[in-house]
Symmetry: D2
């Protein structure tokens, strides 16, 4: 699915999350907004792993979400445990794209949703987008190289 | 923005929602998942208005969410009041598409996000998609005709 | 219900909040955690009105939640509009207590929950509780005097 | 802490839950409503383990939440993993009480919140409270006996 630039799209990060009962809505399956929350948590693990959180804390340069596209493939119910996989597939001058795949343990690892997120490298002090630092790009490529996708 | 089929895309339904303090996340603006929740509430008002909720309660035929695409244009903070506008832009044999536009009162009516949702007409008893009933299609067209978009 | 110290417990602040569809859980009524979110939003309006938010932004002295006690009296469903009423009932040296009452428009103004919150005046810079400034106490008393409870 | 009736209060059920990034609010710690969501998930595991969920699905007799009391002892931040412990401490004719203790892995197992929940045995078909069936009481006692508290 992730068809990234050279060296990208290799799914280096995943995160296991138990479904919470209260995440289900009146249709008795997990509300569609929760998938975005799960992906966000996994994204933060990716940003910790590649040094983006460090960069934000030290220099005020961090990611900002520009777009989200989710395809819902199967409903999820409590109790279950989902695994969210993510990878960066493209790096632009001051932007990037990530793919997501969510699988369900109760459904034997079936994919319940896929998604794409577009983000921008943002200078929170200057309040504008900024080029991705070469050092961050290098760490992302190194992290992706550890993936098996 | 909404460039619908004939008679569609006319934005007949909108919903005012106050921002809740706890909807902000650690970056001090409303978390991106909340936009999807606001749109869902507005979608339900649309489905009530066009008789889709009635159809679901009487015959078990209701909408199911297949896809969501959001473009985030500006951050939202507490306190504020957003208005979510929605319209159906396309009707397929057993599917439909809706557009959304979210505006902020604190930002003078500026658009803070736009989105597209794709849905399927689903027979919850038979557990499969089903053609959109002509009567529902007629009610949607009548509702859209009341819009000014 | 609010049986406060002299000059307190007069319910000066209330907030109307529309129920969102996704706030319902698998039992088809609003999830119990949402009542706490509604109260929090109303609490922030109280804190804005009495100058506690200003104090936090200028001097780093703000409220911190210590305890929450909710009695759930009736289930709430979408669509509905709730009104949350709040009042400070007690002021201690570095603490305070608030009462809450939530009513439902769809149930003709019936009370669906009552609650008590205990809070502490906290110096976020020094990372410890601190006496409530006299100026804040005076503003709270003035705000309460505007209530009708 | 749990000082239950004979044979109760023995903390037989616990649940590990990773903190999600989006559970933090603008004060950069986990929002207070999330603690209630975590306890609810753990409560459902308890109700599955003692047969209360089965009873609800077969006979429409299930638990309903009447009251919640939480003491917040320490803030929680992402990333962290909490463990929620729960036990039934009292069984009345048609009611029950549960205690909760939430601990943080990042804080070396420190207790970050304690809570008490009161519930009612509810006949969802008859729409009224109902005596706790002897068979359920027996299963609760058996489950509690497996605890170490």
């Amino acid at each position: 699915m992730a068809d990234g630039q050279d060296g990208l799209g290799r799914w280096p990060i995943s995160c296991e999350l138990p479904v919470q009962w209260g995440e289900m809505d009146a249709l008795k399956h997990v509300n569609h907004t929760v998938f975005a929350r799960w992906m966000e948590t996994t994204r933060m693990y990716y940003f910790i792993a590649c040094g983006f959180v460090d960069l934000f804390e030290k220099e005020g340069v961090g990611p900002i979400l520009a777009g989200l596209k989710v395809d819902y493939l199967a409903p999820v119910r409590f109790p279950d445990k989902v695994t969210v996989h993510t990878t960066i597939t493209k790096i632009g001058s001051s932007s990037f794209e990530m793919d997501y795949r969510i699988t369900s343990a109760a459904m034997g690892g079936e994919t319940v949703a896929t998604a794409t997120v577009s983000g921008v490298v943002f200078d929170y002090n200057a309040n504008r987008s900024t080029p991705m630092p070469d050092s961050l790009r290098a760490k992302i490529l190194k992290l992706e190289a550890s993936g098996s996708g």
